[in-house]
Symmetry: C2
Subunit: 161 residues, 2 copies
DNA sequence: TTAATTACGGATGAATAATATCCGTAATTA
DNA sequence: TAATTACGGATATTATTCATCCGTAATTAA
């Protein structure tokens, strides 16, 4: 029961794209080098973000990625679901159907009680993630990370984008 | 990002053990047959429940499993964590440490901002599961499942325990 | 006492999913 | 025209889940 490591990568990438000047982009190559992760594999995550309309990828020299929306319109849930998918972590194999005492007609009942509670917890997880925007992450990072590290990182990235 | 299928099995097993007469037990073999799942593998889940003090396994003929506590003292979270473990679904590889602009001293900072939000969502999931007891599941099942199916299943199980 | 039954736990194999790389295509820019 | 970049398909590698097998110890009934 582990989220893919691409989730962490995608969140970090969105985080740094947030600090970009209007219209500027960051190529996958630079994002990969900055985070110390394999470029080809990170690209898959970035393409997922692109398909979901969270980032925009532009081709050619000086191309790369930038956020598609304002940071306060992008939630953690958007990013997580883009790379991890929208299926619940609990998948029901309908083993109640194997009950030897079950009459045939019972087949078309509503979803099982157990599954409903599990999906309810899943929804609580999603609700929590939906409550955190990139903008809020930015404010919190400004508190948590030394200003010098932030500005140096910003320079480093802009110089290569 | 999927829970193991043993989670579903364990929840179902606890559910049927709840209806047992005082002191009676159900062997893994019977639980496996009732749910249509492999006995050897289901045993692993039952042993996990046993280790966590949720059920009690007794040896010998007429042995088997029974709940170790009252149904209103057992939550979904207890059962899920017993078979799935207590680690968060989000595991942080500390990729921020690869930032080329990072001074050495920064190493021993507090957990990253991103990870904190992810763990917060994980905690929301656990809180939701912690709020559902076996007793409540039993009441809900009584509403959802036809009385005839419940009583037939009960007979079937007791006859073999 | 003996034989059957049961939980328990270690070892091992099979199937599936996550991780990672490779490469060809199309778009864009200098 | 040549270099750069996103994009997507194919493939290989590794980790995890799923499942089985088997020996041990405890308990019970005959
Ligand atoms: S009873 Fe619920 S959890 Fe179990 S198999 Fe059916 S739907 Fe799934
Ligand atoms: S910043 Fe957070 S999510 Fe990113 S590597 Fe560090 S701890 Fe993990």
């Amino acid at each position: 029961m582990n989220l893919k490591n691409q989730v962490e990568w995608a969140l970090h990438c969105c985080s740094v794209m947030m600090g970009l000047p209007q219209g500027a982009t960051l190529p996958a190559k630079v994002l990969a080098e900055f985070h110390g992760v394999p470029k080809e594999y990170l690209s898959k995550a970035l393409q997922s973000l692109s398909q979901q309309g969270i980032v925009i990828g532009t081709l050619g020299p000086n191309g790369g990625y930038r956020l598609a929306k304002s940071p306060d319109e992008i939630t953690f849930l958007d990013i997580v679901e883009a790379v991890e998918g929208k299926r619940s972590g609990f998948s029901c194999a309908e083993i109640r159907g194997n009950n030897p005492c079950l009459p045939k007609k019972h087949k078309a009942g509503k979803p099982c009680t157990i599954a409903r509670y599990m999906w309810q917890a899943d929804e609580a997880w999603r609700t929590s993630l939906r409550g955190v925007t990139l903008a809020e992450l930015g404010r919190q990072l400004a508190e948590d990370v030394p200003a010098e590290v932030l500005s140096k990182s910003h320079e480093w990235l802009v110089a290569r984008g």
